[in-house]
């Protein structure tokens, strides 16, 4: 039987239509588990835990393991083993660790920074965009608008991610700068969307 015929005769299998979604869901679940692992609580055992365990154990019976004459050989072997381990570990432990203390003066934010406006403009814009899209279906089908809307969604997700980090790390300069970048980008995309949808 020749090759091409043989290949044609192979059975065909279609993957299930939801296979990609399942793989995607699995990957996401793994990522969530990985992240959550780091957040698991750490428990310290009680100080006297070992004593309690030892107390519950049966009293050990001491029995000589080897005849007296073998003890010296065993001891010598242990010494040799320890020396060996020391020799093997020696090159690995060339990690030098030092701790240093210093003080530094840093700028803090002015107490009198402008108060955020007490408005819910973000939500208003979202409502505006949705309303406009409901009325002007044609405009919203334009690839430019679709892309901008997608962009705005991505930016909002990123904004939330950085806000999460800020909750953990506080007002860390690198994070605040990232937040500024996202907010500015969001502002620009939002303005452009509103400009197009107003027409």
């Amino acid at each position: 039987m020749d090759w091409s015929r043989a290949i044609q005769n192979l059975p065909e299998h279609e993957p299930r239509p939801d296979l990609w979604d399942r793989i995607d869901a699995d990957l996401r679940a793994d990522a969530v588990i990985d992240r959550t692992l780091d957040d698991l609580p750490v428990f310290e055992p009680q100080d006297d835990a070992w004593e309690q365990i030892a107390g519950r154990l049966e009293k050990p019976v001491v029995r000589p393991l080897w005849p007296r004459s073998f003890r010296w050989i065993a001891a010598a072997a242990v010494v040799a083993l320890v020396a060996g381990i020391w020799a093997v570990w020696q090159p690995v432990s060339d990690e030098k660790v030092t701790i240093a203390y210093a003080t530094e003066t840093v700028e803090t934010e002015w107490a009198a920074t402008p108060e955020p406006l007490p408005s819910s403009t973000d939500q208003k814009v979202e409502t505006f965009i949705n309303e406009q899209c409901a009325q002007q279906i044609v405009v919203c089908q334009k690839p430019e608008v679709k892309e901008l809307k997608q962009q705005l969604r991505e930016l909002s997700n990123r904004k939330m991610a950085v806000e999460q980090e800020l909750l953990v790390f506080g007002n860390d300069p690198a994070l605040v700068q990232a937040q500024i970048k996202i907010e500015n980008e969001r502002a620009e995309v939002t303005k452009e969307l509103v400009r197009i949808l107003r027409i």
């Binding site: 780091d38 957040d39 698991l40 609580p41 750490v42 060339d94 990690e95 030098k96 660790v97 030092t98 701790i99 240093a100 203390y101 210093a102 003080t103 530094e104 003066t105 840093v106 700028e107 803090t108 002015w110 107490a111 430019e144 962009q151 980090e165 909750l167 953990v168 790390f169 506080g170 860390d172 300069p173 690198a174 994070l175 700068q177 990232a178 970048k181 996202i182 980008e185």
Partner: protein, 300 residues
Amino acid sequence: MRTLFFLLAFVTLSAFAAAQTRLQVVTKTVEKELTYSTGQRVNLTAQKADITIKGWNKSTVLVRLKLIAKHPEREVAERELGYLNYDIQTRNNVIDLSNRFTIPQRAGAIKGNLKAVYEVWVPTRCPVSVRNTFGDVSLSDLASEASIQLEFGKLSVANLSGKTTVISDYGDIDASELSGFFTIKAEKADITLRELSGSGTIQSRYGKLSIQPDASLTSLSVQAARTEVFLYPKRLDDFQYEVETTNAIIRVPDAYGDSLDANKRRFTYSASSHKPTLLIKNSYSPVVIQLAAGGITLAK
């Protein structure tokens, strides 16, 4: 009058004092030199770290990692330094370097400021992979495969001549003397490439891209969308150009206006068919071609 002066001085000084805080800085420095054999890769996975990687002509990898905690109270800084963990290990053919934050749940949020600073020296031919978020990365003097992935922060590369791959989300890029083969994929990044040679492709969405090509650039393809693109050749005749935009214009020096189509959407120019070709596509944002003034200045 004098009272007013004192009052003013008092207000100014107290305002100044209020804007500053004294922090206790605890720094744990880990230094390790690792033997290197050809073909091994250095793989750095970092979080919130500042990273400097330099090629050197020794045959070892030297890692100096500083873990830094800052807080007005020393005890807090010392305790939180313990949340910063690291790993320096050789596994098979990979030298793994990483840091991570392990914050016990009972501690909730971090009170101070935590940071990791890497300084790594590798043999010039050592392949390097770097991943970082919220921090600055600097790579220089490498002739190997280098792949960098960053989110936010800033990437500076200088004198990379191997195969360079950069993926950046929001991370600004400043490269000088990039050659060999390069691939840059960026979103919302400000990218400046000085003395660009070799050959490669750049994909950019949003942000800004400034390129100063060296005459030894052999090919360049820019696929941009909504990115302001600036090209600063030293001599326009060093290259052939195929530039196209949609929904935005192309600007070229007046003397080359003839090669621009009527609505300034297409610029095709070739002084000689032997010159390397620069392909640029962009949408919704302009492409500006301008002679490099003095060869170095780039509009920021």
